[in-house]
């Protein structure tokens, strides 16, 4: 319960600092070993979304939002998209989206 609270606090801070520099929580997040950028996850790895910083409105309305479980289905070569499954939906994210999404891996 406390964790979700923290997530949302971090998130609304992210809104005010909309500078595209990644998640505001990133620095503190990187200290913990388990927290990675989505783009650094391997195919088949799963985790929980910690922070979404890119055009978060669009992604969130598609169901990709903090607190949700995420699985990387495939990563396409040549800087291609990263296909993830979140909840019951499958979403294809561009690499830049995937760089701005932090995930706590299992």
């Amino acid at each position: 319960m406390d964790e979700t609270r923290a997530t949302h606090a971090g998130e609304s801070a992210g809104e005010s600092s909309a500078d595209g520099q990644g998640c505001p929580k990133r620095r503190q997040c990187q200290r913990g070993r388990a927290c990675k950028r989505l783009v650094d996850l391997e195919c088949g790895e799963t985790g929980r979304i910690e922070c979404v910083d890119c055009e978060r409105r669009t992604l969130e309305s598609m169901g990709v939002r903090p607190g949700k479980r995420i699985e990387v289905c495939t990563k396409h070569p040549f800087d291609g998209p990263v296909v993830v499954s979140v909840g019951r939906s499958t979403v294809s994210l561009s690499r830049s989206h995937a760089r701005q999404l932090d995930v706590v891996t299992d």
Binding site: T4, H8, E11, S12, C43, C54, E55, R56, R57, T58, L59, E60, S61, M62, G63, V64, R65, C73, T74, H76, P77, F78, D79, G80, P81, V83, G87, R88, S89, T90, V91, S92, L93, S94, R95, S96, H97
Partner: protein, 596 residues
């Protein structure tokens, strides 16, 4: 209220709004398994017990803050309608994100009814929704539906008069104790994070998820989107589609229509039509000595033959494979596989949708660019597809006349698409945002839907394309009679033979190309040329100008896509450059290889 309220079907893309609309209003508009099928609204009448009310199928939108043209249409609709009844269509398998939009709509004070569509799939996937609890919580009617089967549609119709507004604070008050009790009042206003918390609370008290084993479609869906398995599969699918298209088109044209027209219709009309040598004979029947329906070139001979005998079977076959591509949900997977390639030209994989539709006809292809985000992307796609993508009608005639070269010409044009795409991408200012794309589940195409779609498209072809083909033949013949063709041939001759190496007899084909590309190609068949000249002139006709219908569509879409002058001017500049450079390059290649 004097005026009856409008019923708006709103919801995310690909949740079954159009399917529901068809059931509710007895209409038949396109339903497809990818986001962005409906870019234009459709209005119809909905029969209720006490009269009829207007009902509108609104383009899908993920939220009420639009990110592209199609979504903007949806939001404008909502804002312009006076006190509408909003039927919020939710995909029950993804109820959370659907509810987020429902709450957004309720927060704006709209009267709403929730249709929990895809109820069948939700069952299979172990998503159990307590409809009554959900309805009590939300304070608006909730009806489970299976739009494709018509299940729940009557219930939905009869609950429309119970549509009501509902406040978010009211929903919070109704939450059962113990479910996220600390939400109080924090949701009012436009705070998405708080809204999501409310969604989670509602879901916690009305939805349970059961674990289910992934189905065959799930496995296939994953394999087709992974590069290692997906790319070979995509090549096989595309090649299979091409093979089917060529085989079916050839089967009907060569097997039935060529004999019918050449052996029976042509000689008959040549003999019975009065006034051989007169202008009317020339206009309608054409060459009295012609022995083949391509070469006679009268409205009733070549015109009819091209429209009905050649193009109709071709587009029937093409639309059939397109329908399978659309309804299976494979289109979005192709988009993902091709995403990296499209990035090189400033687009993203979803540009495949307008491109694929353009193979049927460029007109809907241009319209489909509304799902792209920026003016730059729309301009790029509209221009490239109207310059480089041959439509099904044109391909049909090519297959009938030069089957051995058609595939190569198509590949050359596709290469042009990417080369010029890369160039325009450098030259045109504007941004190419990254997108997230929703991938629909693979579904088995429903025969009834495929056949509805086919008959819609064929009817469209009969009413809008056939008259153009016939008129095109008439116009070219009139220009002949008026001496315009000869004059143009003299003027353009040096350029045609000097730069492209084709004879000046191709002028009538270029004129016909303004009207219809298929007709232009048919016209080329009557000219004695070397094989290379034929290929060259076919490439020229493909590139040099979009047909009238596409041109009109470019003007129309240009208005919302960055200004008519900019779009049409840019498209014209591109096609002139493409014609001379890409056409010239082909000739150069031909000369180097010694075939030109």
């Amino acid at each position: 209220m004097a005026q009856s309220p409008t019923v708006l079907l709103m919801g995310h893309p690909n949740v079954g709004k159009s399917a529901l609309f068809n059931r509710l209003a007895g209409a038949s508009i396109s339903e497809s398994n990818y986001a962005g099928t409906t870019v234009e609204y459709t209005e119809s009448q909905l029969a209720l017990d006490d009269g009829t009310v207007p009902v509108v199928d609104v383009p899908g939108t993920f939220s009420l803050e639009p990110t592209d043209r199609a979504e903007a249409v949806a939001v404008e609709f909502l804002e312009d309608a006076s006190d509408p009844i909003v039927v919020c269509v939710v995909d029950a398998t993804r109820i959370e994100r659907g509810l987020n939009l429902v709450l957004e709509l309720l927060d704006r004070g709209h009267r709403a009814v929730v249709a929990l569509n895809m109820w069948d799939e939700a069952r299979q996937q172990g998503v159990d929704v307590d409809v009554e609890a959900l309805s009590d919580l939300l304070g608006v009617p909730v009806v489970p539906t299976v739009a494709t089967e018509g299940v729940g549609v009557d219930d939905l119709r009869s609950t429309l008069d119970r549509a009501r507004p509902s406040s978010l604070s009211g929903i919070i008050d109704r939450l059962p104790p113990g479910v996220d009790g600390d939400l109080e009042g924090s949701v009012e206003g436009d705070d998405p994070a708080a809204r999501w918390e409310l969604v989670d609370a509602v879901v916690e008290s009305a939805v349970t998820y059961r674990e289910t084993a992934p189905s065959l479609a799930d496995h296939l869906g994953r394999l087709t989107v992974a590069p290692k398995t997906g790319l070979p599969f995509a090549v096989a699918v595309l090649y299979g589609m091409w093979a089917f298209f060529t085989a079916v088109a050839g089967f009907f044209t060569d097997g039935y229509f060529v004999p019918l027209f050449d052996d029976h219709w042509l000689p008959w009309i040549q003999s019975v039509f009065p006034g051989e040598g007169g202008w009317l004979y020339f206009l309608l029947v054409g060459d009295p000595a012609a022995t083949n329906s391509f070469e006679a070139f009268g409205v009733l001979t070549s015109g009819l033959f091209v429209a009905v005998g050649v193009v109709l079977p071709a587009i029937l076959a093409l639309y059939l494979v397109l329908a399978l591509l659309e309804d299976s949900g494979y289109m979005a997977r192709l988009a993902v596989l091709l995403d990296a390639a499209f990035h090189r030209i400033g687009l993203h994989g979803y540009a495949i949708v307008p491109m694929v539709l353009s193979f049927g006809c460029n007109v809907p292809g241009v319209a489909a660019t509304r799902t792209l985000e920026t003016d730059k992307q729309r301009f790029l796609t509209m221009t490239l597809l109207s310059v480089f993508i041959p439509c099904g009608a044109q391909l049909g005639v090519m297959l009938s006349l030069i089957p051995q070269y058609t595939g190569y010409i198509l590949l050359y044009l596709l290469a042009g698409f990417f080369v010029f795409g890369a160039i325009i991408n450098r030259l045109v200012p504007g941004s190419s945002p990254e997108v997230a794309v929703d991938i629909p589940p693979l579904r088995r195409p429903r025969p009834s839907n495929v056949s509805t779609k086919l008959s819609l498209r064929i009817r469209g072809f009969m009413t809008s394309a056939v008259p153009f083909v016939l008129a095109g033949v008439g116009v070219v013949n009139l220009l002949y009679l008026g001496g315009v063709v000869d004059w143009l041939a003299t003027v353009l001759g040096p350029v045609l033979s000097g730069w492209f190496g084709v004879p000046s007899e191709t002028v009538p084909a270029l004129i016909a190309g303004f009207m219809r590309k298929d007709l232009a190609i048919a016209q080329l068949s009557a000219i004695p040329m070397t094989p290379f000249q034929t290929v060259m002139s076919v490439v020229m006709v493909s590139i040099y100008f979009p047909c009238v219908a596409t041109f009109a569509m470019l003007i129309k879409e240009g208005r919302t896509g960055g200004g008519v002058l900019r779009v049409v001017g840019g498209a014209l500049a591109t096609l002139v450059a493409a014609l001379f450079l890409w056409g010239g390059l082909l000739r150069l290649g031909g000369t180097l290889l010694g075939v030109a």
